[in-house]
Symmetry: C2
Subunit: 248 residues, 2 copies
DNA sequence: CGGGGGGTTGATCTCCTTCAATCAACGTGG
DNA sequence: CCACGTTGATTGAAGGAGATCAACCCCCCG
Protein backbone atom coordinates (compact mmCIF):
# COMPACT_ATOMS: atom_id res chain seq x y z
CA UNK A 1 0.00 0.00 0.00
CA UNK A 2 1.55 3.25 -1.09
CA UNK A 3 2.06 6.04 1.40
CA UNK A 4 -0.36 8.75 0.36
CA UNK A 5 -0.55 12.41 1.15
CA UNK A 6 -1.95 13.10 4.59
CA UNK A 7 -5.65 13.82 4.12
CA UNK A 8 -6.96 17.29 4.56
CA UNK A 9 -8.18 17.77 8.09
CA UNK A 10 -10.92 20.33 8.54
CA UNK A 11 -10.66 21.37 12.15
CA UNK A 12 -13.18 24.07 11.48
CA UNK A 13 -16.69 22.87 10.63
CA UNK A 14 -17.45 26.08 8.77
CA UNK A 15 -14.68 25.24 6.27
CA UNK A 16 -15.85 21.65 5.87
CA UNK A 17 -16.57 20.58 2.28
CA UNK A 18 -19.62 18.59 3.37
CA UNK A 19 -20.96 21.20 5.76
CA UNK A 20 -24.21 21.67 3.86
CA UNK A 21 -24.94 18.10 2.81
CA UNK A 22 -24.06 15.94 5.83
CA UNK A 23 -26.05 15.18 9.01
CA UNK A 24 -24.97 18.51 10.38
CA UNK A 25 -26.42 20.44 7.43
CA UNK A 26 -29.37 21.96 9.31
CA UNK A 27 -27.44 22.77 12.48
CA UNK A 28 -27.26 26.31 13.79
CA UNK A 29 -23.91 27.68 14.86
CA UNK A 30 -24.42 26.74 18.52
CA UNK A 31 -25.34 23.17 17.63
CA UNK A 32 -22.40 23.05 15.28
CA UNK A 33 -20.08 24.17 18.04
CA UNK A 34 -21.32 21.29 20.15
CA UNK A 35 -20.65 18.79 17.39
CA UNK A 36 -17.29 20.36 16.67
CA UNK A 37 -16.19 19.86 20.26
CA UNK A 38 -16.71 16.11 20.17
CA UNK A 39 -15.94 15.18 16.59
CA UNK A 40 -12.74 13.43 15.58
CA UNK A 41 -11.29 12.36 12.24
CA UNK A 42 -10.29 8.91 11.09
CA UNK A 43 -8.51 8.03 7.88
CA UNK A 44 -8.21 4.78 5.98
CA UNK A 45 -6.09 3.65 3.08
CA UNK A 46 -7.63 2.31 -0.11
CA UNK A 47 -8.60 -1.31 0.43
CA UNK A 48 -8.72 -1.03 4.20
CA UNK A 49 -11.76 -2.26 6.08
CA UNK A 50 -13.50 0.37 8.19
CA UNK A 51 -15.60 -2.17 10.08
CA UNK A 52 -16.76 -5.77 9.69
CA UNK A 53 -20.38 -6.78 9.79
CA UNK A 54 -21.24 -8.02 13.26
CA UNK A 55 -18.45 -6.11 14.98
CA UNK A 56 -19.26 -3.83 17.84
CA UNK A 57 -19.59 -0.29 16.50
CA UNK A 58 -19.12 2.48 19.05
CA UNK A 59 -19.10 5.36 16.60
CA UNK A 60 -21.07 6.90 13.77
CA UNK A 61 -19.79 9.35 11.21
CA UNK A 62 -19.78 11.01 7.83
CA UNK A 63 -17.61 10.44 4.82
CA UNK A 64 -15.63 13.64 4.26
CA UNK A 65 -13.33 12.62 1.43
CA UNK A 66 -13.02 9.46 -0.61
CA UNK A 67 -15.31 6.56 -1.31
CA UNK A 68 -16.36 3.57 0.77
CA UNK A 69 -18.62 0.61 0.10
CA UNK A 70 -21.26 -1.12 2.17
CA UNK A 71 -21.54 -4.84 1.47
CA UNK A 72 -23.01 -8.12 2.62
CA UNK A 73 -21.41 -11.53 2.20
CA UNK A 74 -23.00 -14.97 2.29
CA UNK A 75 -21.07 -17.78 3.95
CA UNK A 76 -20.12 -19.32 0.62
CA UNK A 77 -18.49 -16.07 -0.46
CA UNK A 78 -21.14 -14.53 -2.68
CA UNK A 79 -21.13 -10.82 -1.92
CA UNK A 80 -23.49 -8.00 -2.76
CA UNK A 81 -22.71 -4.37 -2.36
CA UNK A 82 -25.70 -2.59 -0.83
CA UNK A 83 -24.44 0.95 -0.81
CA UNK A 84 -21.81 3.27 -2.18
CA UNK A 85 -20.71 5.86 0.36
CA UNK A 86 -19.71 9.19 -1.08
CA UNK A 87 -18.67 12.41 0.67
CA UNK A 88 -21.42 13.59 3.06
CA UNK A 89 -22.95 10.10 3.38
CA UNK A 90 -23.59 8.86 6.89
CA UNK A 91 -22.27 5.62 8.35
CA UNK A 92 -23.78 3.79 11.30
CA UNK A 93 -27.17 3.57 12.87
CA UNK A 94 -28.06 5.34 16.10
CA UNK A 95 -29.52 2.81 18.49
CA UNK A 96 -27.69 -0.16 17.03
CA UNK A 97 -24.84 -1.88 18.81
CA UNK A 98 -23.14 -3.78 16.01
CA UNK A 99 -22.41 -3.09 12.36
CA UNK A 100 -24.89 -4.64 9.94
CA UNK A 101 -22.58 -4.51 6.92
CA UNK A 102 -18.95 -4.60 5.94
CA UNK A 103 -17.65 -1.10 5.30
CA UNK A 104 -14.56 -0.87 3.11
CA UNK A 105 -12.56 2.09 1.84
CA UNK A 106 -12.08 1.87 -1.93
CA UNK A 107 -9.98 5.00 -2.05
CA UNK A 108 -8.09 6.95 0.54
CA UNK A 109 -10.87 7.82 2.99
CA UNK A 110 -11.45 10.49 5.60
CA UNK A 111 -14.34 10.26 8.03
CA UNK A 112 -15.70 12.71 10.56
CA UNK A 113 -16.72 10.60 13.55
CA UNK A 114 -18.66 10.86 16.77
CA UNK A 115 -18.78 8.38 19.59
CA UNK A 116 -22.19 6.78 19.45
CA UNK A 117 -23.51 7.62 22.93
CA UNK A 118 -22.77 11.35 22.83
CA UNK A 119 -24.20 11.50 19.32
CA UNK A 120 -27.41 9.80 20.42
CA UNK A 121 -27.73 12.16 23.35
CA UNK A 122 -27.21 15.11 21.08
CA UNK A 123 -29.79 13.79 18.63
CA UNK A 124 -32.36 13.72 21.40
CA UNK A 125 -31.63 17.36 22.23
CA UNK A 126 -31.00 18.96 18.85
CA UNK A 127 -33.89 18.09 16.52
CA UNK A 128 -32.04 19.44 13.49
CA UNK A 129 -29.76 16.42 13.45
CA UNK A 130 -32.60 13.91 13.58
CA UNK A 131 -34.48 15.83 10.90
CA UNK A 132 -31.51 15.83 8.58
CA UNK A 133 -30.83 12.16 9.26
CA UNK A 134 -34.44 11.38 8.37
CA UNK A 135 -34.12 13.23 5.07
CA UNK A 136 -30.89 11.43 4.28
CA UNK A 137 -32.31 8.04 5.23
CA UNK A 138 -35.36 8.59 3.02
CA UNK A 139 -33.02 9.45 0.14
CA UNK A 140 -30.99 6.32 0.81
CA UNK A 141 -34.16 4.28 0.81
CA UNK A 142 -35.08 5.70 -2.58
CA UNK A 143 -31.66 4.83 -3.98
CA UNK A 144 -31.89 1.35 -2.52
CA UNK A 145 -35.24 0.84 -4.22
CA UNK A 146 -33.92 2.16 -7.50
CA UNK A 147 -31.13 -0.37 -7.12
CA UNK A 148 -33.63 -3.15 -6.48
CA UNK A 149 -35.16 -2.47 -9.88
CA UNK A 150 -31.70 -2.61 -11.42
CA UNK A 151 -30.77 -5.87 -9.66
CA UNK A 152 -34.07 -7.59 -10.28
CA UNK A 153 -34.96 -6.56 -13.79
CA UNK A 154 -32.19 -4.96 -15.79
CA UNK A 155 -29.90 -6.70 -18.26
CA UNK A 156 -26.14 -6.71 -17.79
CA UNK A 157 -25.71 -3.97 -20.37
CA UNK A 158 -28.38 -1.82 -18.75
CA UNK A 159 -26.78 -2.37 -15.35
CA UNK A 160 -23.39 -1.17 -16.55
CA UNK A 161 -24.92 1.81 -18.34
CA UNK A 162 -26.87 2.72 -15.20
CA UNK A 163 -23.78 2.59 -13.03
CA UNK A 164 -21.81 4.72 -15.46
CA UNK A 165 -24.66 7.21 -15.64
CA UNK A 166 -24.79 7.50 -11.87
CA UNK A 167 -21.06 8.05 -11.54
CA UNK A 168 -21.07 10.47 -14.46
CA UNK A 169 -23.94 12.45 -13.00
CA UNK A 170 -22.35 12.64 -9.58
CA UNK A 171 -19.09 13.81 -11.09
CA UNK A 172 -20.87 16.38 -13.20
CA UNK A 173 -22.63 17.76 -10.14
CA UNK A 174 -19.28 18.20 -8.41
CA UNK A 175 -17.69 19.85 -11.43
CA UNK A 176 -20.60 22.27 -11.72
CA UNK A 177 -22.39 20.65 -14.60
CA UNK A 178 -20.84 21.54 -17.91
CA UNK A 179 -23.93 19.99 -19.44
CA UNK A 180 -24.15 19.03 -23.09
CA UNK A 181 -20.39 18.83 -23.45
CA UNK A 182 -18.63 15.46 -23.17
CA UNK A 183 -18.42 14.07 -19.65
CA UNK A 184 -15.13 12.69 -18.42
CA UNK A 185 -14.44 10.80 -15.22
CA UNK A 186 -12.43 8.04 -13.59
CA UNK A 187 -14.07 4.85 -12.39
CA UNK A 188 -13.62 4.74 -8.64
CA UNK A 189 -14.22 0.96 -8.53
CA UNK A 190 -12.44 -2.15 -9.76
CA UNK A 191 -14.28 -4.48 -12.14
CA UNK A 192 -14.84 -6.82 -9.23
CA UNK A 193 -16.38 -4.09 -7.06
CA UNK A 194 -18.64 -3.10 -9.94
CA UNK A 195 -19.69 -6.72 -10.28
CA UNK A 196 -20.51 -6.88 -6.57
CA UNK A 197 -22.54 -3.74 -6.90
CA UNK A 198 -24.44 -4.86 -9.99
CA UNK A 199 -25.05 -8.50 -9.09
CA UNK A 200 -22.85 -9.74 -11.94
CA UNK A 201 -19.49 -11.47 -12.35
CA UNK A 202 -16.41 -9.43 -13.09
CA UNK A 203 -16.09 -11.13 -16.47
CA UNK A 204 -19.55 -9.99 -17.50
CA UNK A 205 -18.73 -6.46 -16.34
CA UNK A 206 -15.60 -6.47 -18.43
CA UNK A 207 -17.39 -7.80 -21.49
CA UNK A 208 -20.22 -5.29 -21.27
CA UNK A 209 -17.84 -2.38 -20.81
CA UNK A 210 -16.00 -3.58 -23.90
CA UNK A 211 -19.30 -3.79 -25.74
CA UNK A 212 -20.32 -0.23 -24.81
CA UNK A 213 -16.87 0.92 -25.92
CA UNK A 214 -17.15 -1.01 -29.21
CA UNK A 215 -20.57 0.59 -29.80
CA UNK A 216 -19.19 4.06 -29.16
CA UNK A 217 -21.35 4.75 -26.10
CA UNK A 218 -18.20 5.37 -24.10
CA UNK A 219 -14.54 5.96 -24.88
CA UNK A 220 -11.96 4.29 -22.68
CA UNK A 221 -8.40 5.43 -22.03
CA UNK A 222 -6.66 2.82 -19.97
CA UNK A 223 -8.95 0.81 -17.73
CA UNK A 224 -10.45 3.52 -15.60
CA UNK A 225 -10.64 6.75 -17.56
CA UNK A 226 -14.03 7.14 -19.22
CA UNK A 227 -15.36 9.70 -21.67
CA UNK A 228 -19.06 9.87 -22.43
CA UNK A 229 -19.42 11.69 -25.76
CA UNK A 230 -23.24 11.72 -25.64
CA UNK A 231 -24.84 11.50 -22.23
CA UNK A 232 -28.35 11.04 -23.62
CA UNK A 233 -27.11 8.07 -25.61
CA UNK A 234 -25.80 6.56 -22.37
CA UNK A 235 -29.11 7.25 -20.65
CA UNK A 236 -30.88 5.49 -23.48
CA UNK A 237 -28.88 2.39 -22.64
CA UNK A 238 -29.94 2.34 -18.99
CA UNK A 239 -33.48 1.15 -19.65
CA UNK A 240 -34.89 4.06 -17.65
CA UNK A 241 -37.53 6.14 -19.35
CA UNK A 242 -36.76 9.69 -18.34
CA UNK A 243 -33.54 11.29 -17.17
CA UNK A 244 -33.43 9.23 -14.05
CA UNK A 245 -35.22 11.13 -11.33
CA UNK A 246 -32.43 13.48 -10.25
CA UNK A 247 -32.43 12.43 -6.62
CA UNK A 248 -29.19 14.29 -6.04
CA UNK B 1 -64.96 -7.60 -7.47
CA UNK B 2 -66.86 -9.24 -4.64
CA UNK B 3 -68.54 -7.09 -2.07
CA UNK B 4 -66.60 -7.66 1.12
CA UNK B 5 -67.39 -6.98 4.75
CA UNK B 6 -66.98 -3.33 5.66
CA UNK B 7 -63.53 -2.98 7.20
CA UNK B 8 -63.19 -2.42 10.89
CA UNK B 9 -62.96 1.29 11.59
CA UNK B 10 -61.07 2.26 14.70
CA UNK B 11 -62.40 5.66 15.56
CA UNK B 12 -60.46 5.50 18.77
CA UNK B 13 -56.69 5.51 18.44
CA UNK B 14 -56.29 3.76 21.78
CA UNK B 15 -58.14 0.75 20.38
CA UNK B 16 -56.12 0.74 17.16
CA UNK B 17 -54.37 -2.54 16.36
CA UNK B 18 -51.28 -0.72 15.10
CA UNK B 19 -51.17 1.84 17.88
CA UNK B 20 -47.77 0.68 19.14
CA UNK B 21 -46.01 -0.03 15.87
CA UNK B 22 -47.05 2.76 13.51
CA UNK B 23 -45.71 6.34 13.13
CA UNK B 24 -47.82 7.30 16.12
CA UNK B 25 -46.21 4.70 18.39
CA UNK B 26 -44.20 7.15 20.50
CA UNK B 27 -46.93 9.78 20.78
CA UNK B 28 -48.20 10.90 24.16
CA UNK B 29 -51.94 11.15 24.69
CA UNK B 30 -52.09 14.85 23.81
CA UNK B 31 -50.18 14.32 20.57
CA UNK B 32 -52.38 11.36 19.81
CA UNK B 33 -55.48 13.46 20.32
CA UNK B 34 -54.14 15.91 17.76
CA UNK B 35 -53.57 13.16 15.23
CA UNK B 36 -56.94 11.64 16.00
CA UNK B 37 -58.69 14.89 15.19
CA UNK B 38 -57.32 15.07 11.67
CA UNK B 39 -57.02 11.42 10.66
CA UNK B 40 -59.42 9.76 8.24
CA UNK B 41 -59.78 6.23 6.92
CA UNK B 42 -59.64 4.99 3.37
CA UNK B 43 -60.36 1.49 2.18
CA UNK B 44 -59.47 -0.32 -1.01
CA UNK B 45 -60.53 -3.60 -2.55
CA UNK B 46 -58.04 -6.29 -3.45
CA UNK B 47 -56.40 -5.41 -6.75
CA UNK B 48 -57.23 -1.73 -6.51
CA UNK B 49 -54.51 0.85 -7.04
CA UNK B 50 -53.96 3.20 -4.12
CA UNK B 51 -51.84 5.59 -6.15
CA UNK B 52 -49.82 5.62 -9.36
CA UNK B 53 -46.20 6.59 -9.51
CA UNK B 54 -45.90 10.21 -10.57
CA UNK B 55 -49.36 11.17 -9.39
CA UNK B 56 -49.78 14.06 -7.06
CA UNK B 57 -49.99 12.70 -3.51
CA UNK B 58 -51.65 14.98 -0.99
CA UNK B 59 -51.77 12.48 1.86
CA UNK B 60 -49.62 10.14 3.88
CA UNK B 61 -50.82 7.26 5.99
CA UNK B 62 -50.41 3.91 7.69
CA UNK B 63 -51.64 0.50 6.66
CA UNK B 64 -54.12 -0.60 9.34
CA UNK B 65 -55.38 -3.85 7.87
CA UNK B 66 -54.48 -5.81 4.76
CA UNK B 67 -51.49 -5.87 2.49
CA UNK B 68 -50.28 -3.51 -0.20
CA UNK B 69 -47.31 -3.52 -2.53
CA UNK B 70 -44.87 -0.84 -3.66
CA UNK B 71 -43.61 -1.32 -7.18
CA UNK B 72 -41.73 0.25 -10.07
CA UNK B 73 -42.37 -0.39 -13.73
CA UNK B 74 -40.11 0.19 -16.72
CA UNK B 75 -41.68 1.49 -19.92
CA UNK B 76 -41.43 -1.91 -21.60
CA UNK B 77 -43.47 -3.46 -18.79
CA UNK B 78 -40.79 -5.07 -16.65
CA UNK B 79 -41.82 -4.48 -13.05
CA UNK B 80 -40.05 -4.87 -9.76
CA UNK B 81 -41.74 -4.80 -6.39
CA UNK B 82 -39.67 -2.69 -4.01
CA UNK B 83 -41.68 -3.09 -0.85
CA UNK B 84 -44.38 -5.13 0.81
CA UNK B 85 -46.60 -2.99 3.03
CA UNK B 86 -47.99 -4.73 6.09
CA UNK B 87 -50.14 -3.35 8.92
CA UNK B 88 -48.34 -0.44 10.65
CA UNK B 89 -46.17 0.34 7.61
CA UNK B 90 -46.08 3.95 6.48
CA UNK B 91 -46.93 5.18 3.00
CA UNK B 92 -45.78 8.43 1.52
CA UNK B 93 -42.89 10.75 2.06
CA UNK B 94 -43.20 14.03 3.93
CA UNK B 95 -41.78 16.80 1.78
CA UNK B 96 -42.48 15.07 -1.52
CA UNK B 97 -45.19 16.21 -3.89
CA UNK B 98 -45.71 13.15 -6.07
CA UNK B 99 -45.72 9.42 -5.47
CA UNK B 100 -42.45 7.70 -6.37
CA UNK B 101 -43.96 4.21 -6.73
CA UNK B 102 -47.15 2.44 -7.64
CA UNK B 103 -49.04 1.39 -4.52
CA UNK B 104 -51.49 -1.47 -4.97
CA UNK B 105 -53.77 -3.27 -2.54
CA UNK B 106 -53.31 -7.04 -2.81
CA UNK B 107 -55.99 -7.75 -0.24
CA UNK B 108 -58.83 -5.73 1.17
CA UNK B 109 -56.98 -2.74 2.61
CA UNK B 110 -57.65 -0.16 5.29
CA UNK B 111 -55.43 2.87 5.68
CA UNK B 112 -55.29 5.58 8.32
CA UNK B 113 -54.53 8.79 6.45
CA UNK B 114 -53.51 12.37 7.09
CA UNK B 115 -53.47 15.22 4.64
CA UNK B 116 -49.84 15.93 3.89
CA UNK B 117 -49.59 19.58 4.92
CA UNK B 118 -51.13 19.20 8.39
CA UNK B 119 -49.01 16.11 8.94
CA UNK B 120 -45.83 17.96 7.99
CA UNK B 121 -46.74 20.82 10.31
CA UNK B 122 -47.38 18.37 13.09
CA UNK B 123 -44.07 16.63 12.46
CA UNK B 124 -42.28 19.92 12.92
CA UNK B 125 -43.98 20.42 16.28
CA UNK B 126 -44.16 16.91 17.76
CA UNK B 127 -40.69 15.35 17.62
CA UNK B 128 -42.06 11.92 18.57
CA UNK B 129 -43.51 11.48 15.11
CA UNK B 130 -40.29 12.33 13.34
CA UNK B 131 -38.32 10.10 15.68
CA UNK B 132 -40.58 7.16 15.05
CA UNK B 133 -40.54 7.79 11.32
CA UNK B 134 -36.74 7.76 11.41
CA UNK B 135 -36.72 4.40 13.20
CA UNK B 136 -39.16 2.96 10.72
CA UNK B 137 -37.27 4.32 7.72
CA UNK B 138 -34.01 2.86 9.01
CA UNK B 139 -35.73 -0.51 9.37
CA UNK B 140 -37.08 -0.22 5.84
CA UNK B 141 -33.61 0.58 4.59
CA UNK B 142 -32.28 -2.57 6.24
CA UNK B 143 -35.01 -4.68 4.64
CA UNK B 144 -34.33 -3.08 1.27
CA UNK B 145 -30.66 -3.95 1.59
CA UNK B 146 -31.43 -7.50 2.62
CA UNK B 147 -33.58 -7.68 -0.50
CA UNK B 148 -30.72 -6.36 -2.62
CA UNK B 149 -28.63 -9.36 -1.57
CA UNK B 150 -31.51 -11.63 -2.50
CA UNK B 151 -32.05 -10.00 -5.89
CA UNK B 152 -28.40 -9.79 -6.78
CA UNK B 153 -26.97 -13.04 -5.54
CA UNK B 154 -29.51 -15.69 -4.61
CA UNK B 155 -30.69 -18.56 -6.80
CA UNK B 156 -34.35 -18.95 -7.70
CA UNK B 157 -34.79 -21.69 -5.09
CA UNK B 158 -33.14 -19.57 -2.39
CA UNK B 159 -35.30 -16.61 -3.35
CA UNK B 160 -38.51 -18.59 -2.95
CA UNK B 161 -37.34 -20.11 0.32
CA UNK B 162 -36.42 -16.65 1.63
CA UNK B 163 -39.82 -15.23 0.75
CA UNK B 164 -41.61 -18.14 2.38
CA UNK B 165 -39.44 -17.78 5.48
CA UNK B 166 -40.25 -14.08 5.74
CA UNK B 167 -43.97 -14.62 5.40
CA UNK B 168 -43.86 -17.56 7.80
CA UNK B 169 -41.93 -15.56 10.37
CA UNK B 170 -44.27 -12.60 10.12
CA UNK B 171 -47.27 -14.86 10.52
CA UNK B 172 -45.68 -16.62 13.47
CA UNK B 173 -45.04 -13.30 15.17
CA UNK B 174 -48.70 -12.38 14.80
CA UNK B 175 -49.91 -15.76 16.09
CA UNK B 176 -47.62 -15.47 19.11
CA UNK B 177 -44.94 -17.83 17.93
CA UNK B 178 -45.85 -21.43 18.58
CA UNK B 179 -42.25 -22.14 17.73
CA UNK B 180 -40.98 -25.60 16.93
CA UNK B 181 -44.39 -26.83 15.85
CA UNK B 182 -45.33 -26.82 12.18
CA UNK B 183 -46.00 -23.37 10.75
CA UNK B 184 -49.11 -22.86 8.63
CA UNK B 185 -50.05 -19.81 6.59
CA UNK B 186 -51.67 -18.58 3.41
CA UNK B 187 -49.65 -16.89 0.70
CA UNK B 188 -50.90 -13.31 0.41
CA UNK B 189 -49.48 -12.96 -3.09
CA UNK B 190 -50.18 -14.43 -6.52
CA UNK B 191 -47.38 -16.25 -8.33
CA UNK B 192 -46.98 -13.19 -10.51
CA UNK B 193 -46.66 -10.85 -7.53
CA UNK B 194 -44.07 -13.18 -6.00
CA UNK B 195 -42.17 -13.12 -9.30
CA UNK B 196 -42.23 -9.32 -9.30
CA UNK B 197 -40.95 -9.30 -5.75
CA UNK B 198 -38.18 -11.81 -6.37
CA UNK B 199 -37.00 -10.66 -9.77
CA UNK B 200 -38.12 -13.88 -11.48
CA UNK B 201 -40.76 -14.98 -13.95
CA UNK B 202 -44.00 -16.46 -12.67
CA UNK B 203 -43.14 -19.76 -14.37
CA UNK B 204 -39.90 -20.03 -12.41
CA UNK B 205 -41.75 -19.23 -9.20
CA UNK B 206 -44.25 -21.98 -9.93
CA UNK B 207 -41.51 -24.48 -10.76
CA UNK B 208 -39.49 -23.75 -7.65
CA UNK B 209 -42.51 -23.95 -5.39
CA UNK B 210 -43.31 -27.32 -6.96
CA UNK B 211 -39.71 -28.37 -6.36
CA UNK B 212 -39.77 -27.37 -2.68
CA UNK B 213 -43.04 -29.27 -2.35
CA UNK B 214 -41.59 -32.34 -4.11
CA UNK B 215 -38.59 -32.22 -1.74
CA UNK B 216 -40.83 -32.05 1.32
CA UNK B 217 -39.63 -28.61 2.42
CA UNK B 218 -43.22 -27.39 2.26
CA UNK B 219 -46.66 -28.99 2.00
CA UNK B 220 -49.22 -27.34 -0.25
CA UNK B 221 -53.00 -27.55 0.02
CA UNK B 222 -54.51 -25.82 -2.96
CA UNK B 223 -52.37 -23.06 -4.41
CA UNK B 224 -52.08 -20.76 -1.44
CA UNK B 225 -52.19 -22.77 1.79
CA UNK B 226 -48.67 -23.64 2.96
CA UNK B 227 -47.47 -25.85 5.80
CA UNK B 228 -43.82 -25.77 6.83
CA UNK B 229 -43.12 -29.00 8.74
CA UNK B 230 -39.55 -28.03 9.65
CA UNK B 231 -38.77 -24.34 9.76
CA UNK B 232 -35.01 -24.88 10.15
CA UNK B 233 -35.08 -26.97 7.00
CA UNK B 234 -36.69 -24.06 5.19
CA UNK B 235 -34.11 -21.65 6.61
CA UNK B 236 -31.39 -23.96 5.35
CA UNK B 237 -32.75 -23.44 1.86
CA UNK B 238 -32.58 -19.64 2.00
CA UNK B 239 -28.80 -19.44 1.67
CA UNK B 240 -28.56 -17.27 4.79
CA UNK B 241 -26.16 -18.39 7.45
CA UNK B 242 -27.94 -17.68 10.71
CA UNK B 243 -31.63 -17.38 11.45
CA UNK B 244 -32.03 -14.29 9.35
CA UNK B 245 -31.39 -11.25 11.53
CA UNK B 246 -34.84 -10.93 13.15
CA UNK B 247 -35.46 -7.41 11.98
CA UNK B 248 -39.09 -7.60 13.04
C1' DC C 1 13.64 -10.62 -13.78
C1' DG C 2 9.88 -12.61 -11.33
C1' DG C 3 5.47 -12.06 -9.30
C1' DG C 4 1.03 -10.42 -8.43
C1' DG C 5 -3.05 -7.53 -8.97
C1' DG C 6 -6.23 -6.01 -12.23
C1' DG C 7 -8.20 -6.70 -16.67
C1' DT C 8 -9.62 -8.97 -21.13
C1' DT C 9 -11.15 -12.59 -23.94
C1' DG C 10 -12.51 -17.36 -25.34
C1' DA C 11 -15.09 -21.82 -24.81
C1' DT C 12 -18.43 -24.17 -22.58
C1' DC C 13 -22.17 -24.91 -19.53
C1' DT C 14 -26.41 -24.07 -16.94
C1' DC C 15 -29.97 -21.84 -14.84
C1' DC C 16 -33.53 -19.19 -15.88
C1' DT C 17 -36.44 -17.13 -19.47
C1' DT C 18 -39.48 -17.47 -23.24
C1' DC C 19 -43.12 -19.41 -25.72
C1' DA C 20 -46.84 -22.40 -25.52
C1' DA C 21 -50.19 -25.88 -24.16
C1' DT C 22 -53.07 -27.40 -20.54
C1' DC C 23 -55.77 -27.35 -16.31
C1' DA C 24 -58.72 -26.10 -12.32
C1' DA C 25 -61.75 -22.87 -10.24
C1' DC C 26 -65.00 -19.43 -10.72
C1' DG C 27 -68.56 -16.42 -12.33
C1' DT C 28 -71.80 -15.07 -15.84
C1' DG C 29 -75.25 -14.94 -19.06
C1' DG C 30 -78.21 -17.49 -22.25
C1' DC D 1 -77.80 -25.85 -15.61
C1' DC D 2 -74.32 -25.86 -18.80
C1' DA D 3 -71.27 -23.51 -22.25
C1' DC D 4 -68.06 -20.05 -22.21
C1' DG D 5 -64.61 -16.74 -20.97
C1' DT D 6 -61.40 -15.35 -17.51
C1' DT D 7 -57.91 -15.63 -14.11
C1' DG D 8 -54.35 -18.01 -11.71
C1' DA D 9 -51.41 -21.81 -11.91
C1' DT D 10 -48.69 -25.83 -13.68
C1' DT D 11 -45.77 -28.05 -16.88
C1' DG D 12 -43.03 -28.90 -21.14
C1' DA D 13 -39.62 -27.72 -24.82
C1' DA D 14 -36.32 -24.69 -26.66
C1' DG D 15 -33.28 -20.89 -26.42
C1' DG D 16 -30.29 -17.48 -24.50
C1' DA D 17 -28.03 -14.35 -21.12
C1' DG D 18 -24.88 -14.67 -18.02
C1' DA D 19 -21.85 -17.85 -15.08
C1' DT D 20 -17.94 -20.68 -14.92
C1' DC D 21 -13.44 -22.25 -16.05
C1' DA D 22 -9.30 -21.03 -18.10
C1' DA D 23 -5.68 -18.75 -20.71
C1' DC D 24 -3.39 -14.68 -21.35
C1' DC D 25 -2.07 -9.62 -21.19
C1' DC D 26 -0.44 -5.34 -19.11
C1' DC D 27 1.78 -2.77 -15.84
C1' DC D 28 3.79 -1.70 -11.67
C1' DC D 29 6.93 -2.79 -8.07
C1' DG D 30 10.21 -5.22 -5.31
Amino acid sequence: MAVTDPPTIHVNCSDCPIRHRAVCAHCESDELALLESVKYYRTFDAGQTVIWSGDRMDFVGSVVEGIATLSQTMEDGRTQMVGLLLPSDFVGRPGRETAAYDVTATTQLTMCCFRKRPFEDMMARTPHIGQRLLEMTLDELDSAREWMLLLGRKTAREKIASLLAIIARRDASLRLATTRSAIVFDLPLTREAMADYLGLTLETVSRQISALKRDGVIVLEGKRHVTVPDFDRLLGETGDDNDGGMLV
